[in-house]
């Protein structure tokens, strides 16, 4: 089992990725073809264009992953695919392709939930993380808190009721005409701004559950901009970005630590594209340290969507004897 080689396939949004991982730890290849440049001109991911791009790229990316690993399909012991959540048309390309490979080459098929994949990015090349832990996955599509009891048992204790954190960063950046993706641009501008310059709400901070809601915060920022515009007052974009980002970080930070404390869990494991935000990471780690909670985080390149994390998750599921049948279908949420 320790030499088991898994091919992971990930096409849930706008990255076409195929990776090969040995023994759940050793990364042999992780090819990621990003479509970001294409979607930039539309200010966000266009589902039909993303699906078309995946179709164009999937076979090329798969071959490149095998070549880089120096392997052929015969050397692969299992195919890990993502049935969801994500964009339906995008998911279908990777899922159909992966299922067909598993079927025709008579290898086990392992379906991996995309959000679970983000958590497993932490196990690659790393020390072992003890169970249970609380996982925080934040990206353009998700903001979720999950208790991970073991490699196969996940308990979602909170998720966003509307927009994901990454989504409102994109939307506000688009509103301000700053470009896409929003997160990195806002983070850059926020460095030069004052985070207490403008007060924005921290949504659901005092709710008794661990759900998130960010659409109200988005509206508050837009209303602020409209009011300033009406009053013909100038807005300091750096201050706005810093204050807006701070509101998101505070909400995520307090809720995550509160969850760890409530369930008496001393480990927090991060994942998802928004985790690449250095300010968020730093604040979370510092805040957790004060209450003796350790925080684990994957390297930046494994925070955003990639197939390596899917292959790792696939490895542990296969190890536990969990495989899927060929009628495995997509789910968007």
């Amino acid at each position: 089992m320790k030499d088991t080689v898994i091919m992971g396939i990930e096409t849930s949004c706008d990255e076409t990725s195929v990776a090969i991982v040995k023994g759940g730890k050793k990364l042999l290849s992780n090819i990621i073809a990003s479509q970001m440049e294409i979607h930039k001109s539309y200010g966000g991911v266009v589902p039909e264009i993303a699906s078309r791009k995946h179709m164009e790229l999937i076979m090329i990316v798969c071959q490149e992953a095998l070549d880089k690993a120096g392997l052929s399909l015969n050397n692969i012991d299992g195919i890990a695919v993502v049935p969801g959540p994500g964009l339906k048309g995008s998911l279908l390309v990777g899922l159909s392709f992966g299922k067909a490979i598993a079927f025709a080459s008579e290898k086990p098929l392992i379906g991996v939930n995309h959000i679970e994949g983000h958590i497993f990015a932490n196990f690659l090349n790393s020390q072992d993380i003890g169970f249970p832990f609380i996982s925080l996955v934040v990206s353009g599509g998700h903001t979720s808190l999950i208790i991970v009891h073991n490699f196969c048992q996940f308990e979602v204790i909170g998720r966003t009721r509307d927009d994901a954190a990454g989504e409102i960063l994109d939307k506000i950046a688009k509103y301000l005409g700053l470009g896409y993706p929003g997160g990195p641009i806002i983070e850059k501008l926020a460095v030069c701004g004052k985070e207490d310059a403008i007060y924005f709400p921290r949504p659901l901070l005092n709710s008794n559950d661990f759900d998130f809601s960010f659409s109200g915060l988005k509206t508050a920022v837009i209303n602020y901009l409209i009011d300033k515009n009406k009053a013909q007052q100038k807005v300091n974009i750096n201050d706005l970005c810093a204050s807006f980002q701070k509101a998101i970080i505070d909400t995520i930070k307090y809720k995550t630590i509160a969850a760890a404390e409530k369930y008496n869990i001393s480990r927090i494991v991060l994942g998802g594209g928004v985790i690449a935000n250095e300010t968020l990471k730093k604040e979370l780690i510092e805040y957790a340290r004060n209450v003796n909670i350790s925080v684990y985080c994957p390297p930046k390149e494994l925070c955003t969507d990639n197939a390596a994390m899917i292959a790792v998750a696939g490895f542990y599921k296969l190890k536990a004897g969990i495989t899927d049948s060929f009628d495995l279908d997509v789910y968007t949420r």
């Binding site: 039909e48 078309r52 999937i58 076979m59 899922l95 025709a104």
Partner: protein, 234 residues
């Protein structure tokens, strides 16, 4: 040589295996209960077990690449690529309209296959028989029926119209009580919206001629741009 034919371009999911110009099995499912994605491989597996055909004796995959449902095209082509890649066998992309025309190649006149698109439009092209092969007369287009009709009326020969969405056209003709359809004949037939046997037969021909497609570059034949691209151009 066993050739697998795949047609996922419309509501009917259709898989077939043919061998030396003769069909062995032709499976069609038309259900809203399950998706093409969930059905395609279990159906293929079932087909192999019922016919006793071993997977490793499949020597080519022919897949209908459109025009048709964008999502359907991608399910079929992704699956075909996965199978062809794993078995190291040739992949052949077959134009869906051409495969429809191939079925009626012996009709004495111009062939006009149609496929229902969005917004009341139809994909279409016209073909004529040329030494047992099809030659294209009017290149692939997407238009409303009235536009297509005016196009077809220009031919001096008889024109045969058939395909997916013909029922809607017949209704429209009835409602408008059209008179001027002199040279246009409608070929009403069952199971008109799936054609895996003909896709496989055409694929076999191409394999014999060694005209394989490149598995890396073979893409769906969409005809239409995505809505976002269209709006951007405007």
């Amino acid at each position: 040589m066993n050739i697998l034919g795949i047609d996922t371009t419309a509501e009917v999911l259709n898989l077939a295996i043919i061998n030396k110009g003769r069909f062995i099995v032709d499976y069609r499912i038309n259900t809203a209960e399950k998706t093409h994605s969930a059905l395609i491989l279990p159906l293929f597996k079932n087909m192999l077990s019922f016919t006793g055909i071993e997977l490793k004796t499949v020597e080519g995959v022919a897949v209908s690449i459109g025009p048709g449902s964008f999502t359907g095209l991608r399910i079929g082509l992704s699956t075909a690529k996965g199978i062809a890649f794993s078995l190291s066998i040739p992949i052949i992309g077959i134009n869906t309209l051409e495969s429809y025309a191939f079925r009626f190649i012996d009709l004495p006149g111009i062939l006009c296959p149609i496929i229902k698109a969005r917004r009341g439009e139809y994909y279409y092209a016209t073909f004529y028989k040329n030494n047992n092969n099809l030659s294209i007369a009017k290149n692939y287009q997407c238009a409303k029926w009235n536009v297509i009709k005016n196009d077809l009326l220009k031919y001096n020969n008889d024109v045969y119209v058939f395909g997916y969405g013909l029922g809607d056209i017949l209704e429209q003709e009835k409602a408008e009580k059209s008179k001027n359809i002199a040279n246009i004949n409608f070929v009403v037939h069952n199971y008109q919206n799936a054609n895996a046997v003909n896709v496989a037969l055409m694929g076999e021909k191409r394999i014999i001629e060694k005209q394989y497609d490149d598995i890396y570059n073979l893409s769906p034949f969409y005809i239409s741009q995505s809505a976002a691209e269209m709006n951007k151009t405007i």
